[in-house]
C-alpha cells in the first residue's frame, strides 16, 4: 500500500533522491502515517469512552433516587410530588409517550405524503423549492416553535379543541373536561411539525431508490397513478419509512424546550387529551435549577430513563433502516466503500 516516491514527483521529493526499491521507505518517512493513524484511532476510541463515561456518571448520580424508590418503583409509580419528596416518574413517562405518539400519528402521514408528492407527483420545476421549504422547517429553533405554539397556535386552536371535546364527550380520552391552553394535543401537533423534515427527508431518499421497472410494470398493467404508488412504491419503502418514523419518534421523545413550554406543568397521568401534562425532559428543564439532593437525584434518574428510551428507539430505527438498505442494495465489499455513494446514512445524522 505504501509506495516509495521515486525521485521527485508532483507529490514531493523523497528524502534521498535517485532510484530506490518501490517498497522500501525510511522509517522516518513512515512516521507521519503511523502518527496520523494512531491519533485518529485514539479519537474514535475516545468517543466510545466518552459515552460510556457519561452513562456511568449518570447512573451514579441517579443511584440515590433508585435506592430509595427502586428502579421499577421509580419508573412506574404514579406519584411525582416535589413538595412531599415523592418521585414516581410514571406521569412523566406517560406524558412523554403521549406527546411523542401524537407527533407520530399526526406527523408521519403528512411527512410520507410530502415525500410522495416530491418524488412521484410533483412537476419537475417546483421539486427543488418544495424540498427546500420542507427542510427549512428544521432550521427553526425549538424555543421559537414553543413560543409560536403557545402564543399563536394554542389560542387559535382552543375554540376548535373545545368543540371537539364537547362533541365527543362520550369518548374516554378525548372528550369532556376543560380545554387548557397548554395541553397534550398542541404539544403533539407542534412536535409533529418539528419531526416533519427529518421523516420527510429519509422517506424521500427511500422512495427515490424504488426501481423504475417496478413502477413501469404497474403502470403498464393499467394501474392508475395512485394504484401504482400503492402497489409498487409503498410496499418497497415500508422498512425505510418505518425507520424514518422511528427516528422522528426519537427526536420527539428527546425534544425539551418546545415541550416544556407547551405541555404545561402538571405531573398527572394523562387523563385528558386537551389537558395539561408533563414529560421527562420538561420536568428536568423546569425543576433542575432549584432541585436539592433527592429531587436532583430523581431528575438525574428521569434523565437516565429518557436516555434509555431514546437509545432503544434509535436502535430499533437503525435496525429497520439497515434492513431496508440490505434488501435493496447488493452486498458491498470493503473495496466498494470508497467508491459508491453513501446510502440512507445521508439523511440520518444531519
Amino acid at each position: 500500500m505504501e509506495a516509495a516516491s521515486v525521485g521527485s514527483g508532483p507529490l514531493g521529493d523523497s528524502p534521498r533522491g535517485g532510484e530506490r526499491s518501490v517498497l522500501r521507505r525510511s522509517p522516518l518517512a513512515r512516521l507521519p502515517d503511523r502518527a496520523l493513524r494512531w491519533i485518529l484511532t485514539a479519537l474514535a476510541a475516545s468517543i466510545l469512552a466518552l459515552i460510556v463515561y457519561f452513562f456511568v456518571k449518570l447512573v451514579g448520580e441517579a443511584r440515590p433516587a433508585f435506592a430509595k424508590f427502586g428502579v421499577l418503583g421509580f419508573t412506574f409509580d404514579n406519584n411525582w410530588n416535589v413538595s412531599a419528596n415523592q418521585f414516581g416518574a410514571l406521569p412523566l413517562v406517560v406524558g412523554t409517550l403521549i406527546t411523542s405518539g401524537l407527533a407520530l400519528i399526526i406527523g408521519v402521514p403528512v411527512a410520507v405524503a410530502t415525500a410522495l408528492y416530491v418524488t412521484e407527483l410533483c412537476p419537475l420545476r417546483i421539486r427543488g423549492p418544495v424540498t427546500i421549504l420542507i427542510e427549512l422547517l428544521a432550521a427553526v429553533p425549538s424555543v421559537v416553535y414553543g413560543l409560536w405554539g403557545i402564543f399563536f397556535l394554542a389560542p387559535k386552536l382552543q375554540p376548535a379543541e373545545q368543540w371537539v371535546a364537547d362533541k365527543l364527550s362520550f369518548v374516554p380520552f378525548i372528550g369532556g373536561g376543560i380545554v387548557t391552553i397548554p395541553n397534550y394535543f398542541i404539544t403533539g401537533l407542534v412536535l409533529a411539525i418539528m419531526i416533519l423534515p427529518i421523516v420527510s427527508a429519509i422517506s424521500r431518499e427511500v422512495m427515490s431508490t424504488v426501481p423504475i421497472d417496478h413502477k413501469e410494470a404497474a403502470l403498464g398493467l393499467g394501474a392508475t397513478r395512485w394504484e401504482m404508488i400503492r402497489m409498487a412504491v409503498l410496499p418497497y419503502c415500508r422498512s425505510g419509512i418505518s425507520g424514518a418514523a422511528m427516528l422522528g419518534l426519537g427526536r420527539a421523545i428527546g425534544e425539551t424546550i418546545a415541550v416544556t413550554i407547551l405541555v404545561g406543568d402538571a405531573p398527572v397521568l394523562g387523563k385528558h387529551l386537551f389537558g395539561q401534562g408533563y414529560s421527562l425532559a420538561a420536568a428536568i428543564a423546569n425543576e433542575f435549577g432549584e432541585a436539592q439532593e433527592l429531587h436532583r437525584s430523581a431528575l438525574f434518574a428521569a434523565g437516565l430513563v429518557l436516555f434509555v428510551l431514546t437509545l432503544l428507539v434509535n436502535i430499533a430505527a437503525r435496525l429497520l433502516v439497515m434492513r431496508a438498505e440490505r434488501s435493496t442494495k447488493p452486498k458491498r465489499t470493503a473495496a466498494d466503500f470508497a467508491e459508491t455513494s453513501a446510502p440512507l446514512g445521508a439523511g440520518m445524522g444531519a
Partner: protein
C-alpha cells in the same frame, strides 16, 4: 408519465378507480400544502412581532436587569448575540476537528471493521440523545464534582457534544463520495497516506464538509436546553470563557415569560434575530452544497 383522464378513459379504467386515484392524489397534494403552512405562519408571526423591536439600539446595547420599567431602560440584546457567537464558535472549534477526525478514521482506516461498526453505532446513538442530556452530562462532569459553578466554556462543551455526531455523520457521507480511484492514483504515484488524505481527499470533499459543518453550527446556535445548566446567564457582555455568558436562546426563554410587554417584545426581536442568523447559515450551506462537484 402522467395518466391523464383521457388515457384512463381509453383504457377503460372504471369510474370508481378513477375517483380513488383523484382523491388520493388530491390528498397528497393537500397534505404537502398543509405541511408548508406552519413555515409561512411562523415566519409571518416572527416578522410581525419581532421586526418592530429591531433598531440600532437593540443590537448595540446590553439588556439591563430592568424588567419593570419603561422600554427605554430595558436595553437591547447585544450580550446575547455576542454570547451566542462566542459559545458556538468555541463549540465548533472543539467539535469540528474531532468530528472530522472520527469521520476520516471511519472512512480511511476503520471502514467495515467491527470496531468501526461500534463507533458508527455510538455516533448514531449520540445523534438521538435529547439535547438536555448533553447539558446534564457536562453538569455531572464539570460542575458536580468540582464544586465550581456555571461557565461559558462548559456551555460550549455541551454544544460541542451536540454538534459532534452531526459533523461526523455528514462528513463521513461526503468523504465516502470521494472516488476511490482518486486515492488510489495518488497512492500509486508514491504519496504517503497522510498526504493523500490532506492534499487529495479533504480538498475534494471540502464544499460538502463545509456544508455539513455550517448545518451543525446552525443547529447548535438554536439550542437552549444544553445551555440551561451549564453556561449560566448574565446581562453584561462578557468575553471571558470562565464566567457566565448570555446567549440568544436563553435570553429569549427568560424574557418571554416576563409580565412587562416591552421585555416580551424584546424576546420576539431576539427570536427573529436568531432565526435570521440560522437561516443565513442554512442558505450558505445550501449554496455551497450546490457548488460541490460531488454527489
Amino acid at each position: 408519465m402522467s395518466a391523464s383522464a383521457h388515457t384512463l378513459d381509453r383504457f377503460g379504467v372504471s369510474a370508481r378507480r378513477r375517483r380513488k386515484d383523484k382523491i388520493a392524489r388530491g390528498s397528497v397534494v393537500a397534505a404537502t400544502a398543509i405541511a408548508l403552512v406552519p413555515l409561512v405562519l411562523i415566519v409571518y408571526y416572527l416578522l410581525s412581532k419581532g421586526l418592530g423591536s429591531w433598531s440600532i439600539d437593540f443590537f448595540t446595547t446590553d439588556p439591563t436587569g430592568n424588567t419593570f420599567f419603561a422600554s427605554s431602560s430595558i436595553g437591547g440584546i447585544k450580550s446575547a448575540i455576542l454570547g451566542t457567537i462566542e459559545i458556538v464558535a468555541v463549540a465548533s472549534a472543539l467539535a469540528v476537528p474531532v468530528g472530522l477526525g472520527v469521520a476520516i478514521w471511519l472512512v480511511e482506516y476503520g471502514r467495515s471493521s467491527r470496531f468501526a461498526h461500534t463507533v458508527r453505532f455510538f455516533v448514531d446513538v449520540l445523534t438521538g440523545v435529547p439535547s438536555i442530556m448533553f447539558g446534564l452530562f457536562i453538569y455531572i462532569a464539570l460542575i458536580v464534582g468540582t464544586g465550581s459553578s456555571y461557565a461559558a466554556y462548559k456551555g460550549a462543551f455541551a454544544l460541542a457534544l451536540l454538534m459532534l455526531p452531526v459533523v461526523t455523520r455528514s462528513a463521513e457521507v461526503v468523504l465516502l463520495l470521494v472516488p476511490g480511484s482518486l486515492r488510489e492514483s495518488a497512492l500509486a504515484l508514491g504519496a504517503p497516506r497522510w498526504r493523500v488524505i490532506f492534499k487529495i481527499v479533504l480538498p475534494t470533499a471540502l464544499p460538502g464538509l463545509v456544508t455539513g459543518v455550517l448545518l451543525a453550527i446552525a443547529r447548535a446556535a438554536g439550542e437552549t436546553a444544553p445551555l440551561l445548566f451549564t453556561a449560566g446567564a448574565t446581562m453584561k457582555t462578557e468575553f471571558g470563557l470562565g464566567g457566565f455568558m448570555n446567549s440568544l436562546p436563553i435570553q429569549i426563554y427568560t424574557d418571554v415569560t416576563s409580565p412587562t410587554t416591552s421585555v416580551v417584545n424584546r424576546a420576539w426581536g431576539a427570536a427573529l434575530t436568531l432565526v435570521a442568523m440560522i437561516l443565513v447559515l442554512n442558505l450558505l450551506a445550501r449554496l455551497l452544497a450546490r457548488r460541490s462537484s460531488l454527489g
